[in-house]
Symmetry: C2
Subunit: 209 residues, 2 copies
C-alpha cells in the first residue's frame, strides 16, 4: 500500500512542475473526461517529458489520487475558514455552509466535477486506496470533517432520552448522500441545478435532525 505520489519534489523547479502536472490533469479532465485522459497528453500540456510525470506519480490512478487529495485539502481549508467566520450554532446552518462551499468549488476548481475527492475509478481489487490506507475516500473526508461538526452534533442532542445513536455513522452517510445528490445536480446543469442543491440541503437537515 502506497501513497498517491511516488516522490515528492523538494527543489523549487520540480515543485513547480509537480503542480503544473496536476493543473494540466485537472484541465484535461474537464475537456476530455476521465476515460479520455492520457498521461502523454497531461505531460505535453504541463510541458514535461513523460518520464518526469512518472517520477512523481505512480501512474494515472495516482495522479488522480493526488488531485483528489489537493481538492480535499482545499475544501477543508475553505470550510474551516467559513465556519470560523460565521460560527454556526445549528447543524442546519453548518450543512448549508458545507453545501455552498462544495458548490463553489465545483464551479471554480477545474476537474473537481470529475474527481471530486476521489471517487473516479473505484478499484476494489488491488489498487491503492487513494487518500487513505483502510478507509475509502469519502470516509477520509468524513474524518477530516468530524472535528468541525462533532461539537454541534453533540450540543444539539436536546432529548437525553433518545440520544443520537451514532453521529459518526450519520456523518458518513450524510456525506455519501450529499456527494451523490450534488454530483447529480451538476450532471443535470453545468452550473448546478439550484432545485437539487436546495433539496440536498433539505435532506441533510432532515436526516441529521
Amino acid at each position: 500500500m502506497q501513497s498517491a505520489v511516488r516522490r515528492r519534489p523538494v527543489q523549487r523547479r520540480s515543485l513547480e512542475r509537480f503542480e503544473r502536472i496536476l493543473d494540466s490533469c485537472a484541465e484535461l479532465l474537464d475537456e476530455v473526461g476521465y476515460t479520455g485522459l492520457t498521461t502523454k497528453e497531461v505531460a505535453r500540456r504541463a510541458q514535461v517529458p513523460i518520464g518526469t510525470l512518472y517520477q512523481f506519480f505512480p501512474g494515472i490512478e495516482g495522479l488522480l489520487g493526488a488531485l483528489a487529495e489537493r481538492n480535499l485539502e482545499h475544501f477543508v481549508d475553505r470550510l474551516s475558514r467559513r465556519v470560523e467566520a460565521e460560527q454556526p450554532t445549528h447543524v442546519g446552518t453548518l450543512v448549508d455552509l458545507a453545501v455552498e462551499e462544495y458548490v463553489a468549488m465545483h464551479r471554480a476548481v477545474p476537474g473537481f466535477g470529475v474527481v471530486d475527492f476521489g471517487a473516479v475509478g473505484v478499484e476494489d481489487h488491488d489498487s491503492i486506496h487513494l487518500l487513505d490506507d483502510v478507509l475509502d475516500n469519502n470516509s477520509a473526508v468524513a474524518e477530516r470533517l468530524w472535528t468541525l461538526v462533532s461539537g454541534l452534533l453533540a450540543a444539539e442532542d436536546t432529548d437525553p432520552a433518545h440520544p443520537r445513536p451514532n453521529p459518526r455513522l450519520a456523518l458518513r452517510v450524510a456525506l455519501e448522500c450529499a456527494d451523490a445528490i450534488l454530483r447529480l445536480a451538476f450532471r443535470t446543469d453545468p452550473d448546478g441545478d439550484p432545485v437539487l442543491i436546495a433539496e440536498c440541503k433539505r435532506l441533510l437537515r432532515v436526516y441529521l435532525a
Copy 2:
C-alpha cells in the same frame, strides 16, 4: 447517440453467444475489477473471437451499458413481483422491499456490485449515455420505478395543507442516495454492512415521509 448494443442477435446461436459475453463480463468484473477488465479476456472467457464481441457491442463501454440494462430489467422484475405479492400500503414498507431486493441482487448477481445500473465510467464528454438518451442512468431507473411508487406517494399525502412538493424529484433524489449508501455498505462489508443497510432504510423513510 446510440444504444449500448451495436447489433442485437436474432439467430439462436448468436443469441447464446451474446448472453455468454455478458455473463463473462459480469464474472470478470467481480474478479479483476473495472480497470482490470479487457475485451480480449471477456472474449476468451465467453469462447468467442474478439471480432464477434465487437459485432454486438460498440466497445467496452457499451458492453458495460448492456450489462447495466440487463441488471435494471432484472431488478424491476423482481421488485414488481414482490410488490404484487405483498401489496405494501405505506411508503416505508415499499422502501424496505426495494432495499432488500437491491441487497439480494448485490449478493446473487455477478458484477452487480461494480456496474450497478450503470454508474461506472461516468462519461460526460461525448460517449453514449448508456440506458437512455437524455437522462442519466439512475434517472432511467427512477422512471421505471415511478409507476410502482407514485400511487403510494400520492395516497400518503395526508396533510392537504402541505402537499408533497415534487414527488418525482424526491424519488430521483432518494434513489441517488440509496445507491450511494448501499454501495458504501458493500464496500465496507462484502455481504453488505447490516448497520448501513438499516440506516439506508431509515434515511429513505425519513426523507420520503
